[in-house]
Point group: C2
Chain length 571, copies 2
Amino acid sequence: MAQTNPVLGDLEGNSREIIRLTREAAEAGSDLVAFGEMAISGYPIEDLAMRPSFLAAAHERVDRLAVELAEAGLGDVPVIVGHPDGPFEPRLLGTSNAPTAIAQNAASVLQGGRVVARYAKHHLPNYSVFDEYRIFIPGDELLVIRLKGIDVALLICEDLWRDGGPVSRVLTADAGLLVVINGSPYERDKDEVRLPLVTRRATETDTIVAYVNLVGGQDDLVFDGDSVVVDRDGGILARAPQFREHLLVVDLEPEAATHAQLPDDVRRIELSPGAVDSEKPPIAADVAELPDDRQQIWDAIVLALRDYVEKNRFPSVILGLSGGIDSAVCAALAADAIGAERVFGVSMPSRWSSDHSRSDADDLAERIGLHYRTEAIADLVVPFENQLGLTDIAAENLQARTRGVILMGLSNQEGHLVLTTGNKSELAVGYSTIYGDSVGGFAPLKDVPKMLVWELARWRNSHAEALGLTPPIPENSISKPPSAELRPGQTDQDSLPDYEELDAILEAYINGGLSIADIVELGFDTATVQRITTLVDRAEWKRRQSAIGPKISRTAFGRDRRLPITYRPSL
Amino acid sequence: MAQTNPVLGDLEGNSREIIRLTREAAEAGSDLVAFGEMAISGYPIEDLAMRPSFLAAAHERVDRLAVELAEAGLGDVPVIVGHPDGPFEPRLLGTSNAPTAIAQNAASVLQGGRVVARYAKHHLPNYSVFDEYRIFIPGDELLVIRLKGIDVALLICEDLWRDGGPVSRVLTADAGLLVVINGSPYERDKDEVRLPLVTRRATETDTIVAYVNLVGGQDDLVFDGDSVVVDRDGGILARAPQFREHLLVVDLEPEAATHAQLPDDVRRIELSPGAVDSEKPPIAADVAELPDDRQQIWDAIVLALRDYVEKNRFPSVILGLSGGIDSAVCAALAADAIGAERVFGVSMPSRWSSDHSRSDADDLAERIGLHYRTEAIADLVVPFENQLGLTDIAAENLQARTRGVILMGLSNQEGHLVLTTGNKSELAVGYSTIYGDSVGGFAPLKDVPKMLVWELARWRNSHAEALGLTPPIPENSISKPPSAELRPGQTDQDSLPDYEELDAILEAYINGGLSIADIVELGFDTATVQRITTLVDRAEWKRRQSAIGPKISRTAFGRDRRLPITYRPSL
């Protein structure tokens, strides 16, 4: 089970990685190698699934990969690999009338220099971050490959989650091994739903389940790996680590195939037995342990940030250092992701900046060892204020925007990616300046509420202490009251309730979908709840940020087309 | 047929408008009044369909509307009105495993102070701007209401488009009249597909088809109205104008109901005949003519802009006037939308600005009569350049960002909505400065390619001339070569091919989905095509603009949640 980190659209690079790991697996004596969902193209491909030329290129790459594996002397080992398939004749989807889907989310079995079997995902998720029912044609045939007398059933990700459907056919097909290839993104406590599901399916179908996941960052998503093999009785036989590439080699003893006849909707392909020496001594498989919740979150952000930087080929990142908690945590994350030598911090004090904003930023820079400079903003702000006569909120925002112009100017001049340091609580209520502190290409804390930012900071510091290293985040940045420092003596709590209360209201309103009345019943003050929910509703335009415009033609840029940011090339 | 312009989420205001127009329709002797899709809530409601409190409020408002209509003496007239229905038990959708949909896209028939019948949309579009299969539970029962011996079938929008499905049941039910309530957004040449569809359905089902559409702007969408009634033989009996609210009253003579027995999946409700005097003289129905293509586009943008301003309660708009064609067209659109007295133009010349950039902007301001001021940027730019040592592209972008800071500062100080003047061709290739000229809340030309911008400018000027009015756009802004003027002597064609060629390549690549090889075969230069398609792919992050961040929790802000910007209130 090869837990790879594909680059979206890099068919060549991803294929080379597949060949490299297949060789490694073959050398370890593997009879069968499985890669993740869309391992050849990267995942999710979004509306690239509607480009015939992209699909044709992926299709051709799968065929060529089969040949290349054979040419590399790896033709005997069956390799299961996920990829987009197509282009097909446009198909009507669901209850809609637009015949737009021309692709399938597929898995191919490669052996002997060719594609010997192919399976198409049945269940296409269409909720949360997934839009697959919009872009893929569902498959309807179950595939079972017989290898050395073992029937191996194949599913793709969501297929495993849905009761009934192909899982029930795995049961009737009486397979000895169920291989599920996945592109299952991380979310907090995902393990609490994912592992019990795999376990349940293994016991339900009385089949060993091998669950292979992708790893890596792709725009907003982080795939966590955590590939796992579960025995018929639900016991964990092997488990790959989270958040890194891994080849998980495991010896299995699946039940031999018994069915001579399979149901009509199951296709069975007989594979050559391959050349593996069955007398090889058994391998002790890895069983990785899941780290603590805070560490998982930290590692997820680090990986997402690293992959966004590396996959988009940025040499370095730059961020404003205010002395506050958010920018301190972002700097520590960035240093963990790409090394302090590629992190550039800028202190941008104003007239209203406290002494500690500068000294805490200095302290942070020294602890982390990042590149550090100071660009005072007063001389830049004053000409604007005077020329335009800006006061109050307009003058406060001007300071934040001046900092934005500085960071973008240095980015353009020196090539850094600008990091946005705002957290989820701020973003939710729009407590930021548009084109000011919201400037930047990647926001590490976009989905981290303020209370959790503090938790992460404390966790990261104790983690360093436990290893005898310097804690990266100054204690004062953690303990002082948060402030935007856009006017004298300002604190966040001038405009917002305590963050503990704010985060609880946001959780209830946004994640819980509760009404104002419901939230008040939980014990919060009515006026506060009304104020916060109104802020949340009004902040949607800030969260979208890209300017709204009227739709004129059949295909607009932006909303109509959901394309990945991180991908190459043009096909 | 009441072609209304609802405000999304304003259940009270929209209901009052429904009562007002029902009274007007009743006074004109109507036996039946139909409003558009989701006329009570506004449309599309996006992920508000997942908020139980929003659904409960809409549901309650429909019940109350029935009572209020009766109290207003309008209880006799059956009123068909679209609204979200729910909350229902979460339902599994399509092939997915997430039981998230709790709403239906419904139409209710109100009479005698209560809801006498309800229909739920069967076909849920899930392509282009539509995401309904993600958020609604499809209906499965056809509704026929019998009124004065006439069987009236009811469908919602997409139901009409799909061959088979409920349309075929309308045929077997042998209805005399088919009422279709719609939220069908404008796109260029939409009439060429919409009207033939309505005509085809009328002749196929041998039924008079009354097609009621919404009108108005909602974020990126513009609903054009253009409600129409088509006779059994396909002839147009009545047609409402585009882009404005309208009550279309039409006398019909549908065939009397004959079926005593209907198929099991059709529900028939008998309505009271109402109190209308059948001896009233027939009414000559309006048959509006569709204007010229350029005028339709102009009117669509004007309406979208006006509604974005008014529905979000902005007092005024502000935009930079460069003397170029884009800002000139935006200013003319804004003046047409909300009146020149609410339009604020700012000339922001730099060291590199040509004399004509200032004189053309002056000329424009005078022609339109908008508020006009000059804010030179040199004194604001130089301190940044000197302090940060910015050169080349970084210095060019700095100028654009300085203008962005000026416009946002004036917006914050004075309350204007900032208009972004960039066009679709620029946006497609990323030929703009992020946080510079891309600053703003609404981009009138977001979906208008550059060649069409010139066409619209010429059309608007001749339109004025034909009416004996001052053409708003200076001839020199139309005829001079376009330039960003960020360095001496710069023109757009230093970086881009001629706009005619650029727009053709963009059309082929983005709308046509053609590969580079396909486009080269159309006769374009290979290197140019490669350069442009690469620019398009790289510009996706600019088009999205809102900073990317890793997903941590089950529900992130932004991508997971697709909420309208223009809506109120918090429920």
